[in-house]
């Protein structure tokens, strides 16, 4: 001791030794040294979870920056976002990145979710990883829905009216849920306050907890190998996580950043028109693309299906679909026992096809005016 370290490497070594002397880090060192990633023809799907995480980190950073100027009230929200976009230096960029990154994140999250579904990575012993992942998906959608309202523009105002009224279709507790979500009978400044609190405090807190569990389980159990590759019986080659996989991951992150930068700069996110509760819903109104298939389904459902209102049937249908995905590790018995289960492949393919077809229809089908 006493001698100052001469070079950067020596400094790192000294700090390292100082920490090691106080805390035993052998566990973490071993984990990093021994962590490997299986290499096979479906390895590409391993990158989408990390990419979602990367985009989430961007959301946290840009979200904190937006907080510095944003004002959550019906009188000031729209104007404060306008101020960010027109007066604050690079404000347009920060807001545009926040909006674009949110959308890309939902996209990579969906790719991650369905790739895990089709490679059956949810099977024993990874049921909890799947369930925590599904919870994170629900949280991400809630982030999107609550964040959409914050600029207080017309599109967001009516999307929120519809979205919270959809919650009201749930039998028995629906009306109370809508009231709690809206902070009253209607979508007002009270709704904005609630959504703001949910968006910047409740959801980040939940995400921190559940994401930590999700990542811990992934580290603890390692990557899942698809059953069809396991069944080949050949030994599966691996690559070290550090540095081989991590560097490839970084390439993915940099690509995502490049796409994000280009989108944010060339297609700046629009602000639209300030919400007016006493103006009719404008033609061409629609939600974010990831709610489009639900929106389009609600358009096609007739007013009554038997004795029940059409939208109640729709809402229950989506609820059951979500519940099915949530519980799939426990429903798919065959995969759990190491057998083939084509039924679950076709159900998954059906869900994806439904989402894609209805979403596309949402953009191309005539709107009625």
């Amino acid at each position: 001791m006493g001698r100052l370290p001469g070079s950067w490497a020596e400094l790192v070594k000294a700090v390292d030794a100082w920490v090691e002397e106080r805390i035993d880090l052998t566990g973490i060192r071993d984990l990093i040294r021994h962590k490997v990633v299986p290499v096979h023809r479906h390895s590409i799907w391993y990158y989408f979870g990390g990419m979602t995480l990367f985009l989430f980190i961007i959301q946290v950073c840009t979200g904190i920056l937006l907080l510095l100027y944003y004002r959550p009230s019906a009188e000031q929200a729209f104007e404060s976002v306008q101020f960010i976009m027109t007066e604050v230096q690079f404000g347009w960029l920060i807001r545009s990145i926040h909006s674009w990154s949110a959308n890309l994140m939902i996209a990579t999250l969906m790719i991650h979710l369905f790739s895990v579904y089709f490679t059956r990575a949810y099977r024993k012993p990874r049921e909890l990883t799947w369930i925590s992942g599904m919870l994170l998906f629900g949280i991400a959608l809630t982030f999107g829905f609550s964040g959409y309202l914050l600029p207080w523009n017309t599109l967001a105002y009516f999307a929120t009216k519809v979205g919270t009224d959809v919650a009201g279709q749930v039998p028995v507790v629906g009306h109370l849920m809508t009231r709690i979500l809206r902070g009253g009978e209607d979508v007002t400044g009270a709704t904005l306050s609630r959504f703001y609190g949910i968006h910047v405090a409740v959801l980040p807190l939940l995400t921190t907890g559940i994401l930590s569990l999700h990542l811990f389980l992934v580290q603890k159990q390692g990557m899942s190998v698809p059953p069809e590759i396991e069944r080949d019986g050949r030994p599966i080659p691996t690559m070290p996580f550090v540095p081989d996989f991590l560097l490839r991951d970084l390439v993915g992150w940099l690509s995502a950043l490049a796409v994000l930068g280009a989108l944010a700069a060339y297609f700046p996110w629009e602000l639209g028109v300030k919400a007016d509760p006493f103006a009719p819903a404008p033609a061409g109104i629609r939600p974010e693309w990831y709610f489009m298939y639900m929106f389009q389904t609600l358009k096609y459902l007739p007013s009554k299906i038997g004795p029940i209102d059409g939208e109640v049937v729709g809402v229950l249908g989506f609820g059951l679909g979500g519940l099915f995905l949530f519980l799939v590790p426990f429903l798919d018995r065959k995969t759990a026992q190491g057998e083939k289960s084509p039924l679950f492949f076709w159900i998954g393919a059906g869900i994806v096809t439904y989402i894609v077809v209805l979403s596309v229809l949402g953009y191309v089908a005539p709107g009625g005016k």
Partner: protein, 147 residues
């Protein structure tokens, strides 16, 4: 002796468990009540005077007006009759509008259509729009509930 000790331990555990359970309820109850918003302080409105004169409104048109905290729609039919309804779509709460070219009331959110009696004629709306009464008093148009 053994059973006495274990039953004593069981009793203490039960006491602790119910104690903590009761405490959880005691703490959660006010939080849940806090989350339910209070009933709005605004008195419910029975009638309003719309901010337009009868002569200003041309036939085959519709306008949104403020009925308390809710939007209403005032329609002048092609025949020149004034009618008013709530402007809140019975499907999922969007605000409807008058379509001059089709002479109907339309909701842009999910393509719901009502006729000029407020009846749901196509698309997803499950019920007709609630009609209001319209009175013309000299230069004023008054809209009231309960048609």
């Amino acid at each position: 002796m053994e059973t006495l000790a274990s039953s004593r331990r069981g009793f203490v555990n039960w006491l602790l468990g119910t104690g903590f359970g009761a405490m959880a309820v005691w703490m959660l109850y006010p939080v849940i009540r806090y989350l339910i918003p209070p009933k709005s302080g605004e008195p419910s409105v029975a009638n309003v005077t719309v901010p337009w004169k009868p002569a200003e409104i041309k036939a085959n048109s519709g306008r949104i007006f403020r009925f308390g905290s809710q939007p209403g729609i005032l329609v002048k039919t092609p025949a020149g009759e004034l009618r008013a309804f709530t402007a809140v779509c019975t499907h999922l709460n969007c605000t409807v509008q008058y379509r001059e070219e089709k002479q109907d009331i339309w909701c842009a959110c999910h393509n719901g259509v009502y006729d000029l009696n407020g009846k749901n004629v196509s698309g997803p709306p499950p019920r007709p729009l609630e009609p209001y009464k319209v009175y013309v008093k000299g230069d004023e148009i008054v809209v009231s509930k309960g048609a």
